[in-house]
Symmetry: C3
Subunit: 351 residues, 3 copies
């Protein structure tokens, strides 16, 4: 159950630098490659000749060449040539709208004529020299919505990430959730606390005292279909928290793009954008490594949760106030699903 008339992150540019990439998004088997002039293309990963995955082939002069018998396909899914064969009359492969922007390749797995690149979210940190970004990708065997729940309720940090970003004060501070149109914001503030290990390291890295009392904040923003951007940080206590002046705080944005693969698996693009020391690539690498370890701690729990839910298909879950963010995010997803299932206004008029 995922909306298809939306933009998802399909991959990063490096993943298609050297060769085509086969990836299933929303049950669509797609091959991504760099066509003429380096433009990204996305077509069904199925050679019309004998059914081989085109992603096992290679790119030559902007054409995708099947690795089995050499059929060449262009970015429009048309068979452009094949040695010794007449293939131009072949029915074309389906193509998918695809855009390279903000350091990611975005794909629209639904109806192509509805795809509007303007709907891709603005990521200010991706385009500014004041910011640095590092991240990675996990393949996780669970419904993508379980990951949204996970990220909209950071109470779990106290349990799953006890040694890095968790602390008892998280669950003691009640979160507040508001909805702005299609955006869901869950905010939590903890005042005058000791920073947990991850933030102590960040304070040290910014020449601040790691043991001083701090105010800590987490502002989770969900936007459809499944993006969760989280402003996180600590500031010297009493300096204004998230609004403290730059020299009194360390902060960053946790970036989460969650792309359904099947009903029970997804691609999880995680990362962190920061606007301190953006030129320090070693720091970017260090943060990425640390974040990768922390986020890997969620995998066993999420995949076990999925198995349990499949084993108890009729059991209703309980929603507490900490689940407010996830619950409202799911309502928005449900509304999108209903809209997609409904006959379009044009179709109705025609009827």
């Amino acid at each position: 159950m995922f909306p298809k008339n939306v933009w998802y992150v399909a991959c990063t540019p490096e993943e298609i630098d050297d060769k085509p990439l086969g990836r299933t998004v929303c049950n669509e088997r797609i091959v991504f490659f760099r066509a003429e002039e380096g433009k990204v293309a996305a077509v069904e990963d199925f050679c019309p000749h004998r059914g081989a995955p085109l992603s096992l082939g290679f790119v030559r002069d902007g054409q995708l060449v099947c690795g089995y018998h050499g059929l060449e396909m262009n970015c429009e899914g048309k068979c452009s040539s094949m040695p010794g064969q007449r293939v131009r009359g072949f029915p074309a492969n389906r193509t998918y709208p695809v855009v390279e922007r903000h350091g990611f390749i975005w794909v629209w797995p639904g109806e192509a004529d509805k795809a509007d690149p303007e709907l891709i979210p603005e990521l200010h940190w991706a385009e500014s020299p004041d910011w640095a970004y590092g991240g990675g990708l996990y393949h996780i065997q669970c419904d993508y919505r379980l990951m949204i729940d996970n990220l909209m309720d950071l109470t779990h940090e106290t349990y799953i990430h006890a040694s890095s970003i968790g602390q008892a004060e998280i669950e003691e501070a009640a979160p507040e959730t508001v909805v702005n149109g299609d955006e869901v914001i869950t905010r939590r503030e903890m005042e005058n606390i000791t920073a947990p290990p991850f933030w102590q390291a960040a304070l040290r890295g910014n020449n601040m005292a790691e043991d001083m009392p701090v105010d800590r904040w987490q502002v989770c923003r969900f936007t459809p279909p499944s993006h969760v951007l989280i402003e996180v940080g600590v500031a010297a206590a009493g300096k204004g928290g998230i609004n403290a002046p730059a020299e009194s705080r360390v902060a960053s944005v946790v970036v989460d793009f969650i792309t359904p693969e099947t009903e029970t698996s997804h691609w999880y693009f995680w990362g962190m954008a920061r606007n301190f020391n953006p030129q320090d690539e070693a720091l970017t690498e260090r943060i990425k490594e640390g974040q990768g370890k922390i986020f890997a701690e969620d995998l066993e729990m999420l995949e076990s949760q999925q198995k349990n839910l499949l084993a108890y298909p009729n059991r209703r879950l309980l929603s507490l106030n900490i689940d407010g963010g996830g619950v409202r995010a799911r309502r928005i997803i449900d509304r999108l699903l209903t809209e997609e299932a409904a006959p379009s206004p044009g179709a109705a008029a025609a009827g």
Copy 2:
């Protein structure tokens, strides 16, 4: 097809010493843990909050704490608390009758109001200082009844355990099966033979001549639902066999508790109880290691047999006289299954 209104061995005490244990018994996903005052508890392995397995959590002050968001559950399946949340009104998780006795944790996966601890078998060797016990656990991908068959027909020792306890004389000595109520006893005696390697070692360990002629016995006792205790031993030939005086014999009890997991998999608790040198822990360890190797030899055969039976679903098996013990054990299991499927007398009266 397994009776559920019966006691099965769920685990050993050590398995829940340090953390909760998730284990499926008769298709029930259960978490076992030590609640207040060390009492064993067994509840559904499903957190009512978001469906995570509670077995991934931990125990604090006798409460089971979910490792995802900290919901606390008590031994009665009730949500006792959760940081910052009101959870006492939550519907309780199902609990399972559970008893710690004779060195094992016993669970009753069926109707709780029928569970009577008096029905747990007496294991005299488990409570006496004159006896020592060592054993292990195997997870086997086959119907638990194939393991009962295996243990009630030790003819297979000649083939599968040829290098340790097998010998041609086993299959030459016809077994005798008798039924006493719900108990099935298959007895085999071999007179004036050479002891096989396992028993030669046991004779040596008891300062007896390993190469003397011996009488050997195997008395397999099945009791429902799936316990098989086997008296085994050798005595100097002509001294009375199983009734020979202690100084002329070495003997022990092979202990087999067989707990269904699903229709085609089970947990196999195997071990050996002996009443010679009970204080010799190194000997206990040595016997356990040897027995573990011997019993592992059955696994490939049993799992291959299961696959073959699934591939030939309509093929009837043949029962020979050596199968008498297994056949009668299955009849008792079938009767229990019929009784469980029947409406209870109370229900009938109500109708």
Copy 3:
């Protein structure tokens, strides 16, 4: 979808030299073993006693002994004896016609009374001292017909085997396909070209100049149910190609016996027969190793193709002129399938 009233290669003699071999052919679970006087036997791999696979047992005095409880079966599927039991009245296991010939064990998985050893193909190179043969076996997770397609259209060599036997000239030379009764022949000739690495090595090995211009040929012969023998070679350019005198050419026969296991998996017996230096066993070994590496390159493509076809069950494939051989081979297979499905003439007469 495979014909069953035909001969398939089941295994090589070495595979049953030391112990019985369990192998599924056309969904039939069969155990192959050497019965009395070394004669090959094939019976259902199912012990009538308790359902264990007989292939886990051993052979004693030409009888197959079950490794679980010692039931003995003869080459006719009859229970010949079992220690302490009366088994001669047991219903017999199904047997399969089986013949050892030309260095292979051939099995007929269909109706036994239609099996005629005369239908096993003549393999002249297998019986002549002028020829040497070396080969191997791969287990591949795809429909056996995808392997036939692969071998009847060698265009794929240019892509999959680019570093050994592939070259651009293959796809530039249009193949020609003819049908002779049940035989399909696809022939391709390339004139005045440079030999690819595999053939350069072969030329060197025959004391010929590796860099001289050559004529190259590939003559693929399909015969039902799924045998593909391919005459391949190169000759000094202008000397007559495949008909060039022996001193101007190097040539061999690529041998492919393709045995369905299930609808989506098969056993692939590959090898090469040559009539130069037949006594040179080191050369046989070297060729076999090289061919094994080349043929392993097809596996990922074939298994990925199978997965793709299962994911797009309704998508029709395109057949180009290079596919002529495979298309015609499939037509013959389809005709055999139709004949097998039809009531036999005798049955019709009886009606």
